[in-house]
Symmetry: C2
Subunit: 300 residues, 2 copies
Amino acid sequence: MNFKEELAGRVEEAQQVISKYMPESTGYQKVVIDAMHDSVEAGGKRLRPVILGATYRMFGGEGELAEPFMAALEMIHTYSLVHDDLPAMDNDTLRRGKPTTWVSYGEGMAVLAGDALLNYAYETAAAAFDMARDGEEMKRVVKALQILARKAGIYGMVGGQTADVESEKNNVPIDAERLIFIHRLKTGALLESAFMVGAALAGASDEELATLSEVALKTGVAFQIQDDILDVVGDEALLGKNIGSDEESGKETYVTIYGMDKARADVALLSEQAATLIASFGRECEFLTMLIKSLVERAF
Amino acid sequence: MNFKEELAGRVEEAQQVISKYMPESTGYQKVVIDAMHDSVEAGGKRLRPVILGATYRMFGGEGELAEPFMAALEMIHTYSLVHDDLPAMDNDTLRRGKPTTWVSYGEGMAVLAGDALLNYAYETAAAAFDMARDGEEMKRVVKALQILARKAGIYGMVGGQTADVESEKNNVPIDAERLIFIHRLKTGALLESAFMVGAALAGASDEELATLSEVALKTGVAFQIQDDILDVVGDEALLGKNIGSDEESGKETYVTIYGMDKARADVALLSEQAATLIASFGRECEFLTMLIKSLVERAF
């Protein structure tokens, strides 16, 4: 497999699916829909929908049932970025080299654009019920929707953001345990969604879903540690955002707590463990294994 | 029927249902769950869940299937208040006589608390699938969930908020058409959800749901015009918020556009039309009729 080519093809597919499910910019609410489009189309890697589509195929899924969920998951990911960038949160003016939503549309509209993306994500996912061909597929959509909501909320991404914001704004100290909690939930939870929702829609068992959850969490934590590493050694132009920002703000990271050597070693270990787990299914998993490897060993 | 007594009983029931479905305050994410509780328990009228429960009964619904949706709808209503109160939006420091969420928890946590409520609303609603006893009830839950998401998002409440924020922040002038759009969507859409979701869960037909949508929109617009009237003539202590704020900010309202006489006449007319429509079902509707009347003719 030429991984780069394969990935480019799947990203393009995901891009088309997302576009297909985005709402038309019209009516008195046009400006918020424009903001939704701008933020979604700002050049994300489409990592989560690509993974969702890949696990759907890996477990034998066919047809379009995964598509609404691919789009919904990217909308949820994007809403979280739009809100994270707000002055009240990370106060970021630049994302993927472009002005953030609140810079372009104002703070109030950025709050609404995030809310709009989140609601529309669920509206889009719920449209999958109309595509289910029988009671069995109905049940799979139910399970997928329940995973999607769980992993986005307080027991998932929002939970991780909360522990993060509490430390940054209220000066609650970050120790190793809290940092891992933040990494597992803030980044890991939506990756769990990606790995698990695709498989659930294809009929994977609860045991298989639990294994995929572990794969996702290991990948997510490795990804986040790599982020901490890149904040120290990365290239600003390639990252498309300000680097050294953690150090400037005096923020505790995996690197400041454990040092660069252990950080690098743990990234390699977690990546290896995730690959072993995914190989344990005995299914075609070359693409996902290479994707995990490329994610955690990335230079930007 | 002693309406006041009946209403108090149903509000208490709704309160218990909401409490039952709220998450436990624990873990690293405790602070955001505390903020969710504080905002939900800040003494709302529970109007939407009461209506949802009432239409569920009116169309013959029995058992607990409506409960997760009653709780979910109140969470959605509350998230919208938490975000509306933010400095970036209405910049309100007081809600129902208490400090708003951002005042108590900080702006970043208030953004997250709103996001948490919204995600948890869908997680809660999606739990209703596990209570469905057969394929028919599954389909009703699907319809209810689709209505819930539609009416909360860009084609519902968020759409109305967008047109409102655009006028306030970007100085887009408010004419009569835009004002009615705002009133129908910003207030009306969640009332549509309340009237329609309860009925959908009890198996109401699409035609019946369309009529209920009209009832809700007429009630919502009347309610909002009454709000504009009370902003001029209301009693600050009873309202629990600052009055005269529309005038101070130079905001166009139904009263400034049409004058007080037409505003009062239209409230009476819309209320009457809503009552006539709901009576047209030929079902027991005394409670809902009196509720609509009490809402639009309220003095605070």
